[in-house]
Amino acid sequence: VTPGSESDFHRALIGAIPNVRAFAVSLCGDSNLASDLVQETLMKAWAGRDSFELGTNMKAWLFTILRNTYFSAYRRSRRILPDDDVRVTQQLASPPEQDGHTDLQDFTRMLGLLSADQREALLLVGAEGVSYEEAAAISGCPVGTMKSRVNRARARLAQLMGLVDEEETTSARMSDRRLAGLVDRRFG
């Protein structure tokens, strides 16, 4: 970023804030912590703006800074949503319905039941709409791992939302024959 392009950098930074904030809130499940996380991300971005190439993806750059900050510092402090199925299930305002309708607050709580890696993957690909390749680059993992995390996150959410049962979501470990048997019992 050259002195003349300072305002472009600033504009791009401000433009990305709503998405960066949404990513932070959804990732850590706590709006106060998310606010701290966004501020820390912006300070780091500002300090490192010379390394940012204008015209490249500002959001992806900020997401990378934010997730690295979260996973390195905040997560260690344990100020994140606990992976406690029972507690969260008890907090659900209403049980999941067969038609897949889930209260938004309940959905947020269910998202909190995923591992942080899976939550991050699903947010990047499913909510933010970035490609698997880009999401993998942001998270610093292989593309295959990113695909796997997204699949597992979806499968877990589908189970929590009552879209599929436990048997179906664990069918990864089933042989095709066992899967066919399940289908026969259900639809035969």
């Binding site: 709503p18 501020q39 912006l42 959905f107 292989p142 995390r149 939302m161």
Partner: protein, 78 residues
């Protein structure tokens, strides 16, 4: 043929099944797993976007805007 004026019953998401994911040369050991059906994926995607877009449209907290102003001021004073 369905009778005129009658609408066919929508397929329930629970009628949908899991299918095996295709092998990808980029996949690692984590990926030999089931993939959800398109209907369930669509429902989850819609809920996810609803939640995410709701946060995106919330006003940016004042402390974040204030931080940007401070950073700009600091830069200007240098």
């Amino acid at each position: 043929m369905p009778e005129e004026g009658k609408v066919g019953k929508a397929k329930r998401p629970t009628d949908l099944r899991v299918t095996k994911i295709e092998t990808d040369e980029n996949q690692d050991s984590e990926t030999s797993e089931a993939k959800l059906d398109a209907g369930s994926q669509a429902i989850i995607g819609a809920q996810l976007k609803l939640m995410y877009n709701k946060i995106c449209t919330e006003p940016v907290p004042t402390q974040i805007l204030e931080l940007l102003r401070k950073l700009e001021r600091k830069e200007h004073d240098r």
